[in-house]
């Protein structure tokens, strides 16, 4: 039976009609749109149809027709959207009234991506304008770099996280929170927004709120289950390396170019049949010698070490939440389990996490007490170093292909005989380090109480804790690997405790007088942070099993080391906010921080900020405008500080250094053998306890003070056509003064004379744009495109001589006016094509035909350090991201990519692809190296010793990229169906792929442009299947 329906769509808030609202017959593509007065009419629909009324910013309603011919409907505004209230600095703020540069993260699309990595942080990559996240391939899901609006300082650039009001600088706390427990994430980008966090806000603040609010909907509980399985592979990120035969050809060419017969240096690995003529060399053939080092137990291999060292990894991630409550109470219980089997053999990561949030309302709701707790414990085994401390991811690239993985007798093979590097079989190294692990256990959270003293005056007190227990176990077994042996085994336990308490008290006062709204916040905060570590090791274990390696079982030398440090912060802050007629907005904040890191004279810092906003769309002249649905102009100015220096950086300090080598302070292979102690065998006993003294470790700077950042931000938020097109634009200028830095000093000053200084000033200008279009078409298709862009340019404006050495450049050619991330080096002009060209050129050490030609910038006829200049910057000009969402019926599809442009960098592959390292394998590029016959190439004439790899525009190249990071396809089972399954409210399946493909510039030689550290596990390509269930 067909019928016709008409009616009016209005807003329940003010009763005004809603023009352009969508009315759809459910399950069909039939529908219409309300007219200017909110009227609609739908002829010829089934009498049993359900109408779906939707309008941007309002809650969608479904009404059964039930034979009615007129349906008037008042839609409720969607607090999730228009009245979304978020926490930004000790107070709640309506999203539409925010006046700082704050990005509220859309959590919904993050779930799948964070499920596959186990880190919400990684899922934010490329999604928030001005937030730059670099992933790592570690199974822990740790990000390698997180930057908000580029970088303002040279030191620690990590943002401050404020989770349920408790600050932490440990990204793993945020990473461990399952997204289903997160209420909202705000990124405070500019100083006017973050200034309320004062001393630690210079790198931006990420404010996270977990779910802990009573909805006031009566008794209601819900359960959600998320489960995800991912498959990880690094095949696309591999470097193309030479096979056994090809390496022989490259070594022949390089040796001959150096004037040496390759049969001398590499005759044990290859049999080179060549004409012996260095002036016109010809290689007749090269063959691999049958045995490694002539050992008949070790037949030569043709090993692809990357293939052998990596395997397919799997991630299993599950979490369950139970949440809900009554009008008077709320609780959330979230349990998660993550396991990543690792793509590098014998690595892995496991994490158990639990969150309990709860609150109750007492005394007629006037008092509220509650708790937020996050508990997680994790266990990881990561990439291992070999006997000579070289990490296995690098060895998988560099080890010679002629070494097999196993010997004929089934042992792990290693280098034997001449011609090989003193590096180990990476598979073997991973295997013998399989008992190594790091355990972290964190308790994070707070207990809080709020009391309404008067109806408008609320007092809140909170005690927060951030506690981490760290325990690393490192077992070094004995090794017999080719010619490399380790005869003494060793166990090291490295443990530390980190505890930070935060005690916060605030008073909040809100007043409404007619059109005036006034908010006042006053607060204090005390933070106490302590860190204690103990490192113990023992040598000489009779039995090599994982169970036997305990310190008590050591029979040899034992050492113990340990440190203690800590800091204190004591702060007062206030905020005054004012709104007139919801149109004119203003706020003023001031924070005063006292830090134990600074001396009496500079102990306190004051950090003010002010903002103003104008919601133009609330003005009368725009009320009737159908095009502009939202328009707000914002402006703000703020000052923030940075105190990211050592806890005791201001002191001139001496310490007793009885035992340590330099590796204790600066971990590095050779530093293990570099004694920097004060003990000395004056008595000539050769053993036993030694006399010892004290040594300077840093020079004093009693005048050390806050690094200060002043930032001006103007912004525009806009929405057109019922917010179908929405976005925001921000422009900022940021001046940072007195950057805290510990510059290197001339050696002539002696030992331990470095000190922290307030040094350079920088100016950063930039803009961010986010622009989105979304619409649901009449045929039911939902389509959305959202883009974000961030662009920054920084330059050093002032550079005191005493900190110049911390930056590239020289006294004559200083970095002033350049980005602090500039690269200083030589300019090149292709390759020398002939001996004559070499002779005609300025004197250059090691110059040869086919070698890289450096430009004699100062034209003094000699290439030396005076010919260096600024080559570019490693910070991109532009970061951007684009996301496309499609929804149709029960299907949803999203594709997301992001990239950077306008920067230079080294891709490490160039050192293998364009140069031959004598003991390491090389990349395919060396087969196309310059020879007198092959001159149309940019790969220099091969050499084993004469490789011009110093900083130059040859090795620093444009490494912009665009990456397709994520594609996800989901399917929601129909509600009618799942409702029958125990009242299920949501059942969605999805599949996704991550890190799928990328585009790089033409002369980029490497694999993945984000693979900048060959000693780290590459970021894999990932495919996932997931399920979300809700009850």
């Amino acid at each position: 039976q067909e019928t016709g329906v008409n009616g009016t769509v209005t807003s329940s808030e003010d009763g005004l009609p809603l023009p352009g609202a969508s009315i759809l017959v459910k399950g069909t593509t039939k529908g219409t749109v309300s007219d200017f007065d909110g009227n609609y009419s739908l002829p010829d629909i089934p009498g049993g149809a359900i109408l779906v009324f939707s309008y941007v910013g309002f809650v969608t309603k479904e009404i059964p027709v039930n034979g009615k011919t007129q349906i008037n409907i008042a839609l409720d505004t969607d607090s999730q959207q228009l009245d979304e209230v978020v926490i930004v600095g000790y107070t709640r703020e309506r999203k539409v009234e925010m006046t700082g540069a704050i990005s509220v993260v859309d959590m919904a699309p993050l779930e799948g991506q964070s499920m596959s990595s186990g880190s919400t942080m990684q899922a934010l990559q490329g999604r928030v304008p001005g937030l730059f996240v670099e992933k790592s391939g570690d199974p822990t899901g740790a990000s390698s770099r997180i930057l908000i609006r580029g970088v303002s300082t040279l030191g620690d650039n990590n943002p401050l996280y404020v989770i349920d009001g408790v600050p932490t600088v440990r990204p793993e706390v945020f990473a461990s929170i399952n997204p289903s427990a997160i209420e909202s994430v705000q990124v405070l980008k500019d100083a006017s927004a973050s200034s309320i966090y004062g001393a630690r806000a210079a790198n931006g603040v990420i404010v996270v709120s977990t779910k802990n609010s009573t909805r006031g909907e009566g008794e209601k509980f819900s359960i959600s289950i998320n489960s995800n399985i991912s498959v990880l592979s690094e095949k696309k990120q591999r470097y193309d390396m030479l096979n056994a035969q090809q390496r022989g050809e490259a070594l022949w060419r390089a040796s001959v170019n150096d004037g040496a017969d390759p049969n001398n240096a590499y005759g044990e690995i290859y049999d080179f049949n060549w004409n012996g003529d260095f002036t016109s060399p010809v290689l007749n053939s090269v063959s691999v010698q049958p045995y490694v080092g002539g050992n008949t137990d070790v037949p030569a291999g043709d090993t692809d070490w990357q293939k052998e060292t990596y395997e397919t990894g799997y991630v299993y991630n599950n979490d369950v939440s139970i949440s809900g409550g009554t009008d008077k109470s709320f609780m959330l219980l979230n349990l998660g389990y993550l396991k990543n089997t690792g793509i590098l053999k014998y690595t892995g990561y496991e994490r158990y996490s639990a969150r309990f949030n709860g609150n109750v309302k007492l005394f007629k709701d006037k008092v509220r007490v509650g708790i937020n707790t996050q508990l997680f414990t994790s266990n990881e085994t990561l990439a291992s170093p070999d006997v000579g401390s070289a990490p296995t991811p690098g060895l998988a690239i560099t080890l010679a292909p002629t070494i097999p993985v196993f010997t004929a007798t089934g042992e792990y093979a290693g280098p034997i005989g001449s011609g090989y590097s003193d590096r180990n079989n990476p598979v073997y190294m991973q295997y013998i380090n399989r008992w190594d692990n790091t355990e972290r256990t964190t308790l994070f959270g707070n207990v809080f109480a709020e009391a309404d003293i008067f109806s408008n005056l609320t007092f809140r007190t909170s005690v927060g804790i951030d506690h981490n227990r760290f325990h690393r176990k490192d077992i070094e077994t004995t090794v017999q690997n080719g010619f490399i042996t380790r005869s003494v085994n060793k166990l090291t336990h490295d443990t530390n405790d980190y505890t930070s308490f935060t005690f916060t008290n605030t008073l909040n006062y809100e007043l409404k007088l007619g059109d005036h709204r006034i908010g006042v916040l006053l607060g204090t905060e005390a933070i106490r942070t302590d860190f204690n570590s103990i490192v113990s090791s023992g040598q000489g274990f009779a039995i090599e099993t994982g169970d036997y390696f305990t310190l008590g079982a050591a029979s040899g030398n034992r050492t113990t080391d340990g440190t203690s440090t800590g800091s204190r912060l004591w702060s007062q802050f206030g905020k005054l906010s004012y709104a007139f007629a919801d149109k004119y907005l203003a706020s003023f904040t001031l924070r005063r921080d006292g830090s134990s890191r600074f001396g009496d004279d500079n102990r306190y810092g004051y950090f003010p900020a002010a903002t103003a906003g104008w919601r133009i769309n609330r003005e009368e002249f725009l009320k009737e405008n159908n095009t502009i649905s939202d328009l707000k102009i914002r402006a703000g100015y703020g000052e923030v500080g940075n105190q990211s220096i050592g806890d005791v950086a201001r002191f001139g300090l001496y310490e007793a250094r009885y035992g340590p080598n330099q590796n204790v302070y600066v971990p590095d292979f050779f530093n293990i053998y570099y004694n920097v102690g004060t003990a000395y065998d004056l008595n000539g006993n050769n053993t036993g306890n030694l006399p010892s003294g004290f040594v300077s470790i840093q020079a004093a700077n009693s005048g050390l003070k806050w690094e200060e950042t002043r930032e001006m931000n103007v912004g525009l938020d806009f929405g057109f056509f019922q917010n179908k097109i929405a976005g925001s634009f921000d422009y900022f200028v940021r001046n940072t003064e007195g950057i805290l830095i510990q510059p290197p000093v001339a050696s002539v000053l002696g030992e331990g004379r470095q000190r922290f200084l307030n040094g350079a000033s920088t100016r950063t200008k930039g803009w961010e744009l986010s622009l989105a279009y979304s619409d649901t078409y009449e045929n039911g298709l939902y389509f959305a495109v959202s883009t974000n862009f961030g662009a920054f340019k920084d330059k050093i404006t002032e550079l005191p001589e005493e900190v110049r050495t911390a930056y590239p450049g020289t006294a004559e050619n200083s970095i002033i006016g350049h980005s602090q991330f500039s690269i200083y080096g030589y300019k090149t002009d292709g390759l020398f094509q002939s001996r004559e060209e070499v002779e005609a050129h300025a004197t250059q050490v090691g110059a040869r035909p086919g070698g890289i030609k450096f430009v004699d910038l100062n034209e003094d006829g000699i290439i030396n350090a005076d010919d260096r200049d600024f080559l570019g910057t490693t910070l991109p000009d532009l970061e951007y991201g684009i996301r496309i969402d499609l929804g149709y019926k029960n299907f949803d599809l999203s594709v997301f990519g992001s990239g950077v442009t306008g920067r230079i960098g080294i891709d490490p592959y160039i050192f293998w692809n364009n140069f031959v390292q004598g003991r390491e394998n090389a990349g395919l590029g060396v087969l196309n190296a310059w020879t007198p016959e092959n001159t149309d190439t940019d790969i220099p004439s091969l050499s084993l010793v004469n490789n011009d790899t110093q900083d130059s525009d040859y090795v620093y190249r444009n490494n912009s990229y665009f990456k397709l990071r994520n594609a996800q396809l989901g399917y929601n089972l129909p509600k009618e169906l799942i409702e029958k399954w125990g009242g299920m409210t949501n059942l969605r399946f999805y599949m996704q792929g991550e890190n799928l493909f990328w585009i790089t510039p033409k002369n980029f030689v490497g694999a993945d442009p984000e693979r900048t550290n060959v000693n780290a596990i590459p970021v894999p390509t990932t495919f996932s299947l997931g399920i979300n269930i809700g009850f």
Binding site: D258, G259, A260, N264, A265, V387, G388, S418, F483, R486, S487, V488, N557, D561, T565, R568, S596, R603, V648, Y654, E655, G659, Q662, F670, I672, Y674, N675, G677, A679, Y680, N683, G684, N685, N686, T687, L690, P691, S692, G693, F694, S696, I697, A700, S747, L749, G750, E751, G752, R753, E801, T805, T810, G846, N864, A865, G918, R919, L944, V945, Q950
Partner: protein, 551 residues
């Protein structure tokens, strides 16, 4: 307020250290400073700078690109001021660290009265000796260096140029040794400390270098006789004697013996992280035997091996030694016994031993060489100890030992004196000195023979010198054999003003045997000294330090 007070834990400010109670500790710290070296920034054993860069030795290791900067030094013409962080830049830094330790102790002790600190003068003399030592070593490497004394602020130190008159710089370094000489006791209260003999020996050494006066391009333009007289005077003040067996100088159990005039002390099992052992030659272990470790660096040149050849008269062959090569066992028929103390020769016992675990496993063999196609089959021996020595520690791939490293042996003092006598024309007085060393060498054959070495030794004293020139030639050759691969050779050649001539002649012959030297060339007026590390020039503003000529 109190809440914000947080004091450093386990670390203290300067005023808590600068006390009479801690004065002794600060002196210990300064001593430790001169031995705080590293494989890639040596202070104690200058095998890279004095041996590899001379005709004594090759870099070794796994081909030319292994620690490539040393290959650049070895090729001479690839040496650059801005060439990474390893070796020369670190050695510069480490010596200035040592100087700062001495200077801090000097400034603290200088403020104390004799009542507070009765050993004040002695300790100050020791500290000035240590400071002189570091400046001296730097001067050998760089010629022109900033000279730093105690009590200067950091700002003042950053005003000190290296562009000082050569003669003045020698004299300033000498002042420290003179003060030490005048104030140090004649006997050592502890064997690791410097005494009057050490100061006298250093004065002799310094005045000998100073006697050969150089112009701006490193040419020796004059030999100053009054400096030579001082060499003799101070050498005579040194009390010491030769070890009865040459081997003792390089064997555990003989540290601080009668021949050790001034040495860096090392120890193991001492509660430090990996032992306060000597790792400076850690790269230099024989590579192809599991008895040792990594990495086969610092290998004798064929020229060095040939130099041990003696004629039928038991005398060396300074003019003809290199006419034929000693490679295979049958080539070794008449040699100076010091060969078996210095060089691992295939078929001959290594480090005076025949057996550690299995019969004959200490007989040096060709398989011990890492990269024979490039660097030949010979090995270094003086800096090695037997694998079962209690002084021996294997840490990771490297080996450290508690064996001291002698900066000055009494044999060195004897030859300083002999050289001065010869240059003064008193070569007949030098004859018995040189012969004393040769007789000691002749008496040092028991250990190798007992370990199974065939007796191919033939060494005799010089009957006489017929001229100053002949004596000088004998002295130079004796120095080479006596101190072979101990890291002195290159500095001797530069002192004598013959680095370019000797080394280019060496390269011309050696490159026909070792093709990795095909493009090596020594440039006179440049390669006698290392470039001032570029970062030090950059860090001091660019104009303060004067770069050495040619770089």
């Amino acid at each position: 307020k109190d809440f914000l007070e947080y004091d450093p834990k386990g670390q203290v400010p300067e005023e808590d250290i600068a006390t009479a109670e801690n004065a002794e500790n600060l002196v210990t710290t300064a001593y430790a400073g001169i031995a705080n070296d590293e494989m890639i920034g040596p202070l104690t054993h200058l095998w890279v700078y004095g041996s590899v860069r001379s005709d004594d030795a090759y870099k070794g290791g796994g081909g030319r690109s292994d620690v490539v900067v040393v290959d650049h030094y070895e090729q001479y013409n690839l040496t650059q001021a801005d060439d990474g962080d390893q070796m020369i830049p670190r050695t510069w830094t480490n010596f200035y660290k040592a100087i700062s330790r001495a200077n801090f102790a000097l400034s603290v002790i200088g403020e104390l009265s004799e009542e507070e600190f009765p050993l004040k003068t002695t300790r100050m003399a020791e500290l000035r000796f240590l400071r002189g030592h570091s400046h001296f070593m730097l001067k050998l490497l760089f010629k022109k260096i900033p000279y730093v004394t105690e009590g200067l602020s950091d700002e003042e130190i950053l005003q000190i140029s290296n562009d000082v008159d050569n003669e003045e710089l020698w004299n300033r370094i000498a002042e420290d040794f003179l003060f030490a000489f005048e104030n140090l006791p004649g006997t050592r209260e502890q064997s690791g400390r410097a005494d009057k003999s050490a100061a006298a020996a250093y004065m002799a050494k310094l005045r000998l270098y100073q006697a050969y006066e150089q112009d701006e391009n490193h040419n020796v333009v004059n030999i100053n006789p009054s400096r030579l007289e001082e060499v003799i005077t101070y050498a005579n003040e040194v009390s010491g004697s030769l070890e009865p067996d040459f081997a003792n100088n390089f064997l555990d159990g003989h540290d601080n013996g009668p021949e050790s005039i001034w040495a860096a002390q090392f120890s193991v099992n001492d509660g430090t992280e990996v032992g306060r052992a000597s790792y400076v030659t850690g790269l230099n272990s024989p590579h192809g035997t599991s008895l040792y470790g990594c990495c086969g660096f610092h290998l004798p040149s064929q020229n060095m091996v040939n130099a041990f050849k003696t004629g039928a008269d038991g005398l060396p062959l300074p003019d003809h030694f290199n006419a034929s090569d000693m490679i295979d066992p049958e080539d070794f028929t008449s040699v100076d016994p010091r060969l078996d103390h210095t060089i691992g020769v295939p078929g001959r016992p290594f480090k005076y031993r025949n057996t550690v675990n299995e019969e004959g496993d200490m007989i040096y063999r060709t398989s011990w060489a890492r990269d024979p196609g490039v660097y030949g089959f010979f090995g270094n021996m003086k800096e090695q100890q037997a694998p079962d020595c209690s002084c021996f520690v294997k840490e990771g791939p490297f080996i450290g030992t508690s064996k001291n490293i002698d900066f000055i042996r009494y044999a060195d003092v004897l030859l300083f004196k002999a050289e001065a006598l010869i240059q003064l024309g008193r070569y007949n007085e030098a004859l018995p000195i040189i012969n004393e060393l040769r007789e000691r060498a002749a008496a040092s054959t028991a250990r190798p023979i007992e370990a199974g070495a065939s007796n191919i030794y033939n060494i005799e004293p010089y009957p006489s010198f017929s001229s100053k020139e002949e004596a000088l030639k004998a002295l130079k050759f004796e120095r080479r054999l006596e101190f072979a691969m101990e890291g002195h050779r290159f500095f001797d050649l530069v002192r004598w003003g013959e680095a370019a001539a000797v080394l280019n002649a060496y390269l011309n012959e050696e490159k026909t045997k070792r093709d990795f030297l095909a493009n090596a060339r020594f440039t006179a007026g440049r390669d006698e000294y290392y470039p001032i590390p570029q970062r030090e020039i950059d860090f001091t503003g660019g104009g303060l330090y004067k770069q050495n000529p040619g770089y």
